[in-house]
Amino acid sequence: MKQSNPDRTIAPEFREISDIPFLHPEQKELNNGIPLYTIHAGTEDVCKIDFIFDAGLWYERHELNALLSNLMLNEGTTRLSASNLAETFDFHGAYLQLSTDQHYSYLSVITLNRHLSKIIETLASIIHEASFPQHEFESLILKKKNKFLVEAEKVKVISQKRFTEVLFGKEHPYALTAWPDDYDKVNLEDLKEFVQKHYKAERCRIIASGIIRPELYTLLNKHFGSNDWKSKTLLPEPEFEIHPSKQHFHLFPKEEALQSALRVGCHAVNKLHPDYQGLLILNTILGGYFGSRLMSNIREDKGYTYGIYSMIISLKKAGYFFITSEVGKDSCQAALDEIQFELKRLRTEPVPADELNTVRSYMLGEMLREFDGPFAQAASFRALLEYDLNYDFYRDFIHTIKNITAEQLMDLSNRYFKEENIYEVVAGSKN
């Protein structure tokens, strides 16, 4: 069976991106109050289920506890050993992903709907019946520590971690202060306790995306909807103060390194702030795409680096901005000078219309990718959930991308890229 052939002498019509059709999730609750958000879409009979727990770095009392307790969940339950678990997911072509960030820990599973019941049942054992076996714990520690020992020698990693310490102070959870030796201090009992306290119904949210079968709700309620899974008492929310360094330049020497890694940046704002979207656009111009100011100058023109880019990071309690690159050891100071030059340019010269329009098109194109299919839509939804924002955020963003002016961008750079607020962190040598 063939379609009638289109006229291939005529190229497809070119259109500007005007609107993105968002798939709004439906919201329900399990019997014990756990919010369940479902995005029903797509042509493939698959389903992704994300479990989100208030169990991130924010809540740990010892280094690496949030990360490792999340990983230990998949190392064995009272009914299924680690290899049983691996075999179950493998056999059914299902995938389990475990991850942790500053505030949350996640368990995500993707499965063909044909195997939904079995996979949810297995996930329930993982979350409710984790057994924390000693042998698997020791293997995990060894494996992760060895990997980290290699990573921790890299100037890029050193600059990344130290930058967060400089910005937030060593005591703050947003400072990435774990080093390989911390693996030796991890206590299995602490991990068990962390899970018992934090992987609880009142700290849980679920997002499901793909083809949502009717039995999904029943299965989730059966395995995760019980009131027995609620805590008797609520845990207090920990509070932390930010203590930025008084020093604005920091060098972490590494004699043998052939390159230096640099991180230059400052405090900014998060998604809740009205300036956030404008900052994202400014950030793209500066270092958010291959044709950016930083790439064009420091890579293309000067050849100091293979790649340089910048980012705005939005976290629940703070936002920050940084520029990152690895440069030849002898080009470090020159690269830092060029970075300051580009920041100053943004403060003093309006962005030309051509360049701004290129960035507008680029950003709208990128946004499309973030809504390509039900799984991507679920991820975009998840990115708003912790802030209690709704899709108006994306609608506004499209509007901002299309309408922001060069003057507004210049104003943002003057308020957020002030020279006296900028921190420079170098790992390697400064030459």
Binding site: T43, E44, V46, D90, H92, G93, I110, L112, D372, A376
Partner: protein, 110 residues
């Protein structure tokens, strides 16, 4: 293509023989039902997950149109599911002969 890096203390010859043993097994024995089922599940899952995004759907359609018929994308999964253990053994027997292979050894200097 089959590639690998032998662990310390294992020679390239040992590695080659181990691979050839496995290929011979595939050519001589039919794989078990459970293993075949697992591979089919994983294959189907990967195909289906890939087709979640519009870009991948478009690329898949373009690929099949290039091979002659875009609609084949719809029957992809069924075609793979219809493969039997016998098919696999026969194909292995035909493909995995020493005369049909080239081997590249990449040795460390020391």
């Amino acid at each position: 293509m089959i590639s690998g890096k032998p662990a310390k203390g294992v020679s390239l010859d040992q590695a080659k023989e181990a691979i050839q043993d496995e290929l011979k097994r595939l050519s001589d024995e039919c794989i078990e039902r459970i293993e075949l089922e697992k591979v089919k599940n994983k294959f189907e899952a990967t195909l289906v997950y890939t087709n979640m995004s519009y870009l991948n759907k478009a690329m898949g359609l373009a690929n099949f149109e290039n091979l002659g018929d875009a609609f084949q994308i719809n029957t992809q999964v069924d075609r793979y599911r219809s493969i039997t253990a016998e098919h696999i053994r026969e194909t292995a027997r035909k493909l995995f002969t020493p005369e049909n292979s080239s081997i590249l050894y990449y040795r460390a200097k020391k």
